[in-house]
């Protein structure tokens, strides 16, 4: 069980939204993490824009330090430590978001906000796929033992 946190989740979501609006205002770009991260990886199509993309990703990576400084508390996290589970998950998320041109932020937040039909369909697809995956793992496979 995890605690239902509507207020904190709404505020956190609004901050994610604020960040996306700032990135549009300053850089003129969509705040899609898989896209921005992907552009930083080889093979590089163009060198232009790598600097600000690296700065954005760096900001996300070091944000836990900021949270610890503000709250003084440890950040709660439960992560599977299974090598095979996490390697397959990483490969699938990387390959899938690359192929599908976006993830939860690019399609789910920025795309839906622009009422893009591609992003709405992509979000529905990865949500349904996620629901089915967890159902199969937790209720059919784990439930069978």
């Amino acid at each position: 069980m995890t605690e239902f946190t509507p207020f904190a989740s709404f505020i956190g979501g609004a901050l994610i939204g604020l960040s996306a609006v700032l990135l549009m205002l300053f850089q003129g770009s969509i705040a899609g993490v898989s896209g921005i991260l992907g552009r930083l990886l080889p093979p590089w199509a163009e060198a232009r824009g790598l600097d600000w993309r690296a700065a954005f990703i760096f900001g996300i990576i070091i944000s836990p330090i900021l949270v610890k400084l503000i709250t003084g508390q440890n950040i709660e996290q439960v992560v599977s430590d299974s090598k095979i589970v996490m390697i397959s998950a990483g490969l699938l998320v990387g390959y899938g978001t690359g192929l599908g041109s976006g993830c939860t932020s690019g399609h789910g937040v920025c795309g839906i906000s622009r009422l893009s039909m591609r992003s709405i369909l992509a979000t529905l697809t990865f949500m349904i796929s996620g629901f089915l995956t967890v159902y199969i793992i937790r209720h059919l496979i784990e439930g069978a033992f």
């Binding site: 609004a14 600097d51 399609h107 796929s129």
Partner: protein, 134 residues
């Protein structure tokens, strides 16, 4: 310089939002996806808060002729619903449901030093590079 600093600050705020919202915790994400079990609807509030702000904010920002540090807005223009969009998103959902990480929260997890992120993050990078090569 302003372009880099503003992107860095946007990244910090993005990460802050992911952590405060609980989205950076795979256990919470997996419970959101577990409709038939320990369902935690918090993530709907994350999406709701984010979409509300971006929907309104984009309308205001896009009234400008150009962004502050570039000479044009770079908005995706594709409208076609192709096979890659759907198959890629389905594969992403599969990986998301297995590990509880999407790309953003995997970034905020690097410094938290769990064992799982040591396997997940390099694999994410490999997966992204593969799609660029094919």
């Amino acid at each position: 310089m302003g372009k880099i600093i503003s992107a860095f600050i946007a990244g910090l705020i993005f990460g802050l939002g992911l952590i405060i919202s609980g989205m950076s915790n795979p256990a919470k994400v997996l419970n959101f996806l577990d409709l038939a079990g320990t369902f935690d609807p918090s993530l709907l509030f994350v999406m709701g808060g984010a979409i509300l702000v971006v929907f309104t904010g984009y309308k205001l920002v896009l009234k400008r002729n150009t962004p502050i540090f570039d000479n044009a807005f770079h908005i995706p223009t594709r409208k076609d619903i192709d096979k890659n969009l759907i198959i890629g998103s389905a594969i992403f959902g599969l990986g998301w449901g297995i590990g509880g990480f999407c790309p953003g929260p995997s970034l905020t997890s690097i410094l938290l030093g769990s064992e799982g992120i040591i396997y997940f993050f390099p694999s994410l990078i490999v997966g992204l590079i593969i799609t660029k090569l094919i």
